[in-house]
């Protein structure tokens, strides 16, 4: 069974909410990325979203744009990230890890080669913000050829409205609820109809509902926590790492605190 789905099932059985963090692959370097993944998992992070730095990250705000830019300048690539994944799996990390990436990287490698590389290196899921439902057939066809292929995580937005049932019909793992219009990391400026929107998704979804974009602390989501099954923190987590000079103790403490409040 897929690691993400296994984890979601475990959490459901324990009646716990999930906590997911995003980090940019290769920032500041791959050794550190591995260390952050390991310490974050030990601190209770349920899934790691590993961002593949792209030259033109249109779905990302300033923090992740800057992180991607620096990672690329430090030599981070999709190929090296696959290598790092192989290493970390060989080192015994068995938790769920997914790639957040842009479609050009998939396309550049070739969809078939890409899917094979994901399987060989133990990638459990994919979040591709510039690949909306209508453009997914090519990738889905390739993924469907293998039992152990990563799952494609579906995103919904506050304005998705009538599209939600279509998007969620065959969705797997969890559904990623984008909490605001625009890009990642825009403070806690959630959409004005955020509650109604989350309730709507929750009502339709057969899988856990995660909320992401602009979340910094537990307090940001406190008033909405009854409508979601977990939270995703990206830009704020990158900032935290940057400001602490990649002190994994600082990030682990942050995860512990968020996770415990979420399940209090």
């Amino acid at each position: 069974m897929n690691r993400i789905e296994t984890r979601m099932k475990t959490l459901e059985e324990r009646n716990e909410k999930a906590f997911i963090t995003y980090i940019t692959a290769g920032l500041p370097n791959y050794e550190k990325t591995k260390e952050i993944i390991k310490t974050s998992m030990e601190a209770g992070c349920d899934v790691i979203e590993l961002g593949i730095p792209f030259s033109d990250p249109v779905a990302d705000g300033p923090v992740i744009q800057d992180a991607s830019f620096r990672a690329i300048n430090n030599g981070a690539t999709l190929a090296k990230t696959f290598e790092m994944m192989k290493e970390i799996r060989a080192e015994g990390v068995e938790q769920a890890i997914l790639f957040m990436m842009y479609y050009n990287h998939v396309y550049h490698l070739g969809v078939e080669n890409f899917v094979k590389a994901c399987i060989e290196s133990g990638v459990d899921g994919l979040i591709i913000p510039d690949l909306p439902f209508e453009e997914q057939d090519e990738l889905k066809n390739e993924l469907s050829k293998y039992d152990n292929a990563p799952i494609l995580i579906q995103l919904v937005a506050p304005v998705s409205k009538q599209r939600i049932p279509m998007i969620l019909e065959n969705a797997r793992g969890f559904v990623y609820c984008v909490s605001q219009m625009g890009v990642t990391g825009n403070g806690a400026n959630f959409h004005k109809e955020i509650r109604e929107y989350l309730e709507n998704v929750k009502a339709v979804s057969k899988i856990p509902v995660m909320m992401g974009f602009g979340i910094r602390t537990y307090e940001d989501v406190e008033s909405l926590v009854d409508t979601i099954d977990g939270a995703i923190v990206g830009s704020h987590f990158i900032k935290l790492l940057d400001e602490s000079a990649y002190d994994c103790k600082v990030s682990a403490d942050y995860i512990r605190e968020f996770k415990s409040k979420l399940n209090d």
């Binding site: 033109d56 744009q65 800057d66 396309y107 913000p129 506050p158 998705s160 219009m181």
Partner: protein, 395 residues
């Protein structure tokens, strides 16, 4: 539904989920508008009375005599604001108004589309923000000043390469955030569907006029039609009404920069590497890791790493031939048009001209070439001066 969003395997809508309903609304509003005679009447009114259409189709006598074929110039440089860009802006801004949007955003490289959009926004009393790379702001300070005079806000983009590619990224981000009241006016034949279709629709007036004019002046269709290609808006407009005329050879001219072999160029189709960027699947300049490469051209308007999806399709289907012209070749052609015809073309348009000259040398005296002179060169005076003095002209 899906089929119509594609040109063969190119095009599509590679955008975030937040924009899918917006694109759907836009498609519907656009189709309704162009089927509405009142909308078309209004569009035509502004093209005639405000933009100054129709533009002349001028036979460049001395140039023709020198190179041995009849060379006709479609004078888009004589439009209000000095280039073809305004045709599309008028169309899209009327659509924005019809959709009840109050704010306009746009991206710009050299500033021509930015100036055209700021002009339209002033005309129709809309709030306008133009995204422009910090590098381009430095290179094109006069156009920045013009946009500000027109009441637009110029937002400096400080990410990535700080040029057109990044300005477009930032415009897309801002649009995803504010789509509920904001209309994004894309200036080139790029972006997610229906943008390439809209831009073609609002630029096809170039070829509709040119076809009528050449029939009046020569009594027959031309042997060849030539236009420069960055994202491809003037060229798709120039080709549109000739695509079905199978005996007319169509040629698109990309910017060859310092030469394709140097890697410093803007010829996305010369290498033929497909990818996805700015909402579309098309040919893109990319590095070995799948990141988008920087384009290089003396002309800021062609300095774009991709090309409109319909051009990618027209290349693969063989209907249009795409070639490259280097910085040096286009500057020689630019000088020559000044000397022989008293016309200062935009550096973009001089790329098309340089190839027209090459073609004319191989053609017979009674053969006809029509090229799109997409803009005037006043905006390029500083670059031209630097080039003549042998100074650095790019970056």
């Amino acid at each position: 539904m899906k089929e119509e969003k594609y040109y063969g395997k190119f095009g599509g809508q590679y955008v975030s989920e937040s924009l899918m309903n917006t694109l759907d609304e836009l498609s519907k509003a656009f189709e309704e508008a162009i089927a509405d005679p009142k909308f078309i009447e209004e569009y035509n009114y502004y093209l005639k009375q405000y933009v100054g259409r129709e533009t002349p189709l001028y036979k460049a006598e001395r140039l023709s005599k020198k190179y041995g074929a009849k060379i006709y110039l479609k004078r888009e440089d004589l439009n209000h604001t000095g280039a073809h860009k305004i045709n599309n802006v008028i169309g899209q801004i009327l659509l924005a108004k019809r959709m009840g949007k109050t704010k306009i955003i746009a991206e710009t490289g050299a500033g021509q589309h930015g100036v055209a959009t700021a002009t339209g926004a002033a005309l129709f009393n809309m709030e306008c923000t133009v995204y422009m790379g910090e590098e381009d702001i430095k290179r094109q300070s006069l156009n920045v000043f013009r946009m500000e005079l027109l009441g637009a806000k110029v937002e400096a983009v400080k990410t990535g390469s700080r040029t057109l590619k990044d300005a477009t990224n930032e415009a897309i981000r801002s649009w995803a955030k504010n789509a509920e009241d904001t209309f994004y006016i894309i200036g080139s034949a790029v972006g997610p569907y229906p943008y390439p279709k809209m831009v073609k629709e609002f630029q096809k007036v170039i070829s509709v006029e040119a076809k009528k004019q050449i029939l009046e002046q020569e009594g027959r269709l031309p042997d060849a039609v030539v236009a420069c290609v960055g994202g491809g808006s003037n060229s798709i407009g120039m080709f549109a009404d000739f695509i079905e005329e199978k005996d007319v050879k169509l040629v698109g001219v990309e910017a060859g920069g310092l030469g394709i072999e140097t890697g410093k160029h803007a010829s996305a189709m010369a290498l033929g590497k497909m990818g996805t960027l700015h909402g579309m699947r098309t040919y893109l300049l990319q590095d070995e890791n799948g990141n988008i490469d920087l384009a290089h051209s003396i002309s800021a308007g062609l300095d774009y790493p991709g090309v409109g999806p319909e051009h990618a399709y027209l290349r693969d289907s063989g209907r249009v031939e795409y070639v490259s012209i280097t910085d040096k070749e286009c500057m020689e052609a630019l000088m020559e048009l000044n000397e022989l015809e008293g016309i200062l073309p935009a550096i973009e348009s001089a790329h098309a001209l340089a190839h027209v000259i090459k073609m004319a040398k191989e053609m017979k005296e009674d053969q006809i070439i029509v090229m799109c002179l997409s803009g005037r060169g006043d905006k390029d005076i500083n670059t031209i001066q630097k080039y003549i003095r042998g100074e650095e002209t790019n970056k």
